[in-house]
Amino acid sequence: MTAAAERSPAFGMTRARRNALLQSESVQGFALISPTFVYALILLVLPILVVLAHSFWTQHYLTIDHTFTLENYRIALTEPIYRDLLWRSLYISLTVSFFTVILAYPIAYFISFHGGRHKSLWLFLITIPFWTSYLLRVMSWKVILGYNGVLNSGLMGLGIIDEPSTALLYNSSAVIITLTHAWAAFAILPIFVSLEKVDRTLVEAATDLGDGPLHSFLRVTLPLSAPGVISAALIVMIPTVGDYVTPKLVGGKDGVMIANAIQAQFGKAANWPLGAALSVTTMLVVSLMAGATVLIIRAIQRLAR
């Protein structure tokens, strides 16, 4: 018999315990993810906490006064300019997410149910424009909608209008169209994923039980894909509310959004605390709106049954 087997039990125990600890799933897994986790803590969590802190401070010229105050929030919520910008941003992001989801659903449905062998090709085709520069896509809408742009010159060439229309560019509709286009792929993917999860035999079962195509869609497919619709709406709504490039390029005076005001506080106006308060307010309000959207979609889902 080897010495190892006859080792004192106490020694064997501690050794086994130390091994167990080193080899334990939790420790290894956590050690492995910690660099990435720490990176996210330093460049995401810490910055957001710093923004939160700033929103309760005030700035006098170049120095920050660290006394706690709610003044920034009073300004952010009551000053007409910021209140209007916030409302407009919310309105635009809500409209954009509504349209992207409505337009995306049939596509996601088509790919999932009728994509056949070409499913991944369709998905690839639809996501490819999304990978091109966001700035360039916004720029191309400026080229299309501009006074001397593609649409105006095209319509004039066809004899539909006599002189270029100024109504196309520099308003919130232009912002909505551009954003709807820019976020299309983002809405399709979550809906597609949830439709893929719908067990096809459930649809067959509904048909077997007497439902026509419309009813089986409304009573089975649509409710089961609701989680996808919800995440599609949120994934579009939250980022678009803070969009900076689109309003700046195609929004004009009527299409300015809250991000442009936030940027101004960190640029020309140099009022970081106010910028911070505007950021926090925007995030809070859009979170509330997102929550409400989830509740509304769930309520509709329940009614549809």
């Binding site: 460049l43 520069s133 700035l135 720029m139 001397n148």
Partner: protein, 274 residues
């Protein structure tokens, strides 16, 4: 009802799908079209074919600087984000531990946060920490927003990976490092390259974060942004934009092919009658 039936049977849907593709691609197509048009303003009818806007590009030093900066930022950000992504994706797919979902959620959060919020909050911290704004700070920002994409690509690549392959390697006498080198790495290499390409593309095209976090250096999107103020510079911007579009398109196509190859490779394993 029959119309409805046909609608769901796919006829209308197919037509709609093609229209949708047109809607997605049409705006983007105008960039290359007008970049080879002789007229300096993008409007119909087209006036004639020229490559002069492209020929002017290499003659612009500011543009070349911006391109070089974009390359440096893109390579650094994609390598760093992919390294961090590999660690996190491996941890998420291989281990079970408390807080795993929360940590994953946190790492993925930049994907759904408004870029402006990310940009200004990082800006504040960097200024507080006394970091001077430079390409380095842009890289830091880009790594943060690239990690979620890297994670998505890599977890998909790692997930189908049969754990018994690594056990088989250990069973045959290979050390942990040897197993990683001889089994894990060759298996996931396509996913890693795919992640590098995706991150590079994102960094190359990203504007808002670069705009806020850079000092005096410009990247290509920042350069384009600056040129947009001048109507006369538009054709050059269109030409440059077209090149960027083509670059993104090629990179993403290669990434997609690699991603599929990776998926095929891992999914074949364990197939009973493959």
């Amino acid at each position: 009802m029959t119309a409805m039936r046909r609608f769901f049977a796919g006829g209308w849907l197919t037509a709609y799908a093609f229209l949708y593709i047109v809607f997605l691609y049409l705006p983007v197509i105008f960039l290359p079209i007008f970049s080879i048009n002789t007229a300096p303003t993008p409007k119909f009818p087209l006036t004639g074919y020229t490559l002069k806007w492209y020929e002017d590009l290499p003659k612009t030093p500011a543009l070349l600087d911006a391109a070089w900066n974009s390359l440096i930022v893109g390579v650094s950000a994609s390598v760093l984000a992919t390294l961090l992504g590999i660690l996190a994706a491996r941890s998420i797919t291989r281990y079970r531990y408390p807080g795993r979902r929360t940590i994953n959620g946190l790492i993925m959060a930049p994907l759904v946060l408004p870029e402006i919020i990310l940009a200004i909050s990082m800006l504040l911290v960097m200024l507080q920490l006394g970091l001077s704004l430079s390409l380095f700070t842009v890289v830091l920002g880009h790594v943060l927003i690239c990690i979620p994409y890297s994670m998505t690509v890599l977890t998909a690549g790692f997930e189908g990976f049969d754990r018994s392959l690594e056990e088989a390697s250990a069973d045959l006498g290979e050390s942990a490092f040897g197993t990683f080198r001889r089994v894990t790495l060759p298996m996931v290499a396509p996913a890693i390259i795919s992640s590098l390409l995706v991150c590079f593309t994102i960094s190359l095209d990203e504007f808002v974060i670069a705009f806020f976090l850079t000092g005096t250096e410009t990247t290509l999107p920042i350069y384009i942004w600056g040129q947009l103020r001048f109507a006369a510079k538009l054709p050059g911007v269109l030409a440059l934009g077209t090149l960027l579009l083509v670059a993104s398109f090629v990179l993403m196509t290669v990434a997609e092919i690699l991603r599929r190859r990776a998926a095929r490779r891992t999914q074949n394993e364990g197939g009973l009658y493959a």
